[in-house]
Subunit: 478 residues, 2 copies
């Protein structure tokens, strides 16, 4: 079996044993993986292992995994650290080939923990089995409705076609739920490599790169152990879909914090920078940018050129957007004469206009949303425009008058150019959700972030062109 | 009368004439300044001027301002541009000394507009009156319950003690309402200088610097005409309260957009950078940072040193916070031996811990909020800790178990050190609002932004020390 088949045991298990399954189900659904699996409506077999009871939540509990039925795909191990190795040995005896060791206190803790982790790896390698962890929340897969998390997750109704690879417990699953504006998307697949004693980022990348349900891969990196393999796998992955990464531990403060967190040795920041560039990874500054760009890649069509049109009710916000285009490698589109003619008909005659398009002064003849819609059509049909950023003021008090939400959604459905929106005002949350509902536009809480998302699409386009060229070069060179 | 008294006519008028008051009150409260003033419960006299009716919303309307009662403090002029100068002449005749010209189409439009603006300035200067605008939304003052805006604003129930100076219509008032996380604060005072033919940023700064209700001043700058006076006023202002500024039009794209927006000539970015540094202004990158830092300065006590403690349920987010400390000129605090002893008692014995404090592993003995509270007390009482950043996961499904919201609010009320929070999870909005409700903590949607806010407090502390030193130097030098 190859890496991808191994990873499927973790991500799409047909059955799971929970070693250390808790009898306590009182904490509002916390700390009980069983309840979380029930909430997700996981369709596979669940085998709780607990020597002090013979039933948990209506499921038969077994005193040891050796006494559970055969053919279990995956074991989740949550017992205290001194009991982990005995449990692993029982799993191997039972023929289980994949184990998630949730328990903390290994290389992340002390010398005893390091020794335990080495032994864990030795034992499982010898048996040809794979371990995820220790010190991990494990995996989450909205498609197979499986999660090893012991905290209740939002039901996976709104799946972003994205895969997340992290190194830090909760952050893995919940980081991508932070999004403060728009529809509360959930990243569809998540893998927390924890201390990464065996399964590492490269394995996870390999799986997600080949996964047809994943359109974009987001990485949270503290450290990488096998740099060569990581670059090799990432280079292949980034040719088929965008790979984004935030690297933490980049300052001295952060590096010290990482050492005590997962026991990783943090390499020089510049080294990581070079490695990521070489691998075609789009490096981001922080978690917020990671979320922003994941949403953009998961929901928007490609940006085929770098010429952007900005539509705004407020001149000053258009200026900010224009600045952001400059910072993010984009250009403000120059409209064709035909487009200028269409627009001229909409503006008062004394008004000079351009790009950014200050829609407001034109809104005295017909309604603001109507003008917005007509201008949107004009710029989206302009061959000089590759993508559009809209500024939307959302108060939902003067809906019919001021908020072109339905009009924007109509434009998005008719043109295959990426559109992002900066939504502001007292009801920005509702306005953004309404825009994101059909899943074809990405809304952001600042003009800079709405433009940055388009900039990332363009960066990926350039990376793709580069790999096409380098493929052509390698095809002709020998 | 000096500048401050002049500005009070705009910001705290006892009565206002609305020249061009609309009879139409059907558009959901939009486009009617009268309705907006009613909604704000403005207590002063309101005199609508409209030759086609003798009553609007129960108020007597006058055909011309010359026929309205005497002693009017301020006139708002919203008639088409060709009618502006005649209206201004009537105001001057009536003895009105302050006018807001809302109308667009002056230096922001074409040559005719430029000539009209020059004439407007000449006429008012000759009469010793002041003009705000043209091309402006005017002012907003939650304290005097006055606004010249023609869009309905959220009622000023939650006032941030902040003043905003902008150059762009809606952005002026509504930009600071964008905040996607926490309590929907409203900036208490706003001044949109528009084309700034007369009243400019320096006048507005002078007023806000002297205003006891304003704790922090936020500037949105496209261009400044009288640089020398601006630096002089800003230098004085920044000694008494923090002055933040975002400068737009900093790229070529943006500069071109500014020229067509307010007709300002945008200076070289480096020049602005030097000017701001000299004036003690804290320069920010974008609107989002401007809002973030305004909230921090308006709600938090000063940060007296740069040593930060981070409390988190997730190690990886602590690492991100530690990185951010490195980027924003802060240090991770080293706890005293006494604090370490208090903390040791809370952690499992195998667990090594430090700063960032990964609270989670200690939460198996007592509840998470209780452990969080005890750790919070320990670090806030540590003389080596100047400020605290908390990571809070908010799902509000396992409230009692997982979310130390009440505990954090208790800590905030008892210690005079600044605390910021990064709130995430499916209910981050509610969690953040609950934390911000008492008005003493600032919540943010990313670890980097929560740390950046503390970094800005420290930057201001350094600026203050610098001015104390430079004051001492100038006191001893002659």
């Amino acid at each position: 079996m190859g890496v991808i088949d191994d990873m499927k045991l973790f991500m799409e298990p047909r059955s799971v044993a929970i070693i250390g399954a808790s009898r306590s189900t009182s904490n509002d659904g916390f700390f009980n993986s069983l309840e979380c699996l029930r909430e997700l409506q996981y369709p596979g077999g669940i085998y709780p292992i607990n020597p002090s009871t013979d039933e948990i939540l209506g499921l038969t509990a077994y005193p040891s995994v050796t006494q559970a039925p055969d053919g279990i795909d995956l074991a989740m191990i949550t017992v205290p650290r001194h009991a982990v190795l005995p449990a692993v040995r029982e799993c191997l005896e039972k023929g289980i080939r994949a184990m998630i060791v949730v328990t903390q206190g290994f290389a992340d803790a002390d010398e005893t923990g390091k020794a335990l982790q080495d032994e864990l790896l030795r034992v499982t390698r010898a048996a040809g089995a794979r371990v995820l962890g220790p010190n991990t929340m494990g995996v989450f897969n909205a498609y197979s409705r499986f999660s090893s998390a012991f905290v209740s997750l939002v039901k996976p109704d709104r799946k972003l076609p994205s895969g997340f690879i992290g190194q830090s417990g909760f952050a893995t699953y919940l980081g991508l739920l932070t999004r403060p504006l728009g529809v509360p998307w959930i990243g569809a697949k998540g893998i927390d490599v924890g201390n990464a004693c065996d399964v590492d980022q490269a394995d996870a990348l390999e799986y997600l790169a080949a996964d047809p349900e994943t359109k974009v891969i987001a990485l949270h990196l503290e450290g990488v152990k096998d740099g060569r393999r990581f670059v090799e796998v990432a280079s292949r992955a980034s040719r088929v879909k965008p790979v984004l990464a935030v690297k933490v531990g980049t300052t001295e403060c952060g590096a010290r914090a990482v050492a005590s967190h997962t026991g990783s040795i943090v390499g020089q920041d510049q080294v990581y920078d070079a490695v990521m560039r070489q691998a075609g990874i789009i490096r981001v500054a922080d978690l917020e940018e990671l979320e922003d760009l994941t949403k953009a890649f998961a929901t928007l069509p490609p940006l085929k050129g770098k010429r952007i049109a900005v539509l705004t009710p407020v001149g000053g916000l258009g200026v900010m957007a224009a600045d952001a285009c400059g910072y993010h490698g984009l250009e403000m589109a120059s409209f064709t004469p035909a487009t200028m003619e269409r627009l001229t008909a909409l503006f008062p005659e004394w008004m000079s206009f351009g790009n950014p398009l200050d829609v407001w002064p034109a809104a005295f003849s017909v309604s603001y949303p109507q003008v917005f819609h007509m201008m949107g059509e004009a710029v989206l049909e302009d061959p000089n425009v590759d993508g559009v950023m809209c500024v939307v003021y959302s108060a939902l008090i003067g809906y019919s008058f001021f908020e072109p939400l339905e009009e924007i959604n109509d434009l998005v459905s008719r043109y295959n150019k990426p559109i992002t929106a900066y939504v502001y005002g007292p009801r920005c949350q509702d306005g953004a959700s309404k825009l994101e509902e059909p899943g074809k536009i990405a809304a952001y809480p600042s003009p800079v972030r709405a433009v940055r998302a388009l900039g990332a699409l363009w960066k990926y386009q350039l990376l793709q062109q580069r790999s096409v060229i380098s493929n052509q070069l390698s095809a002709i060179s020998f």
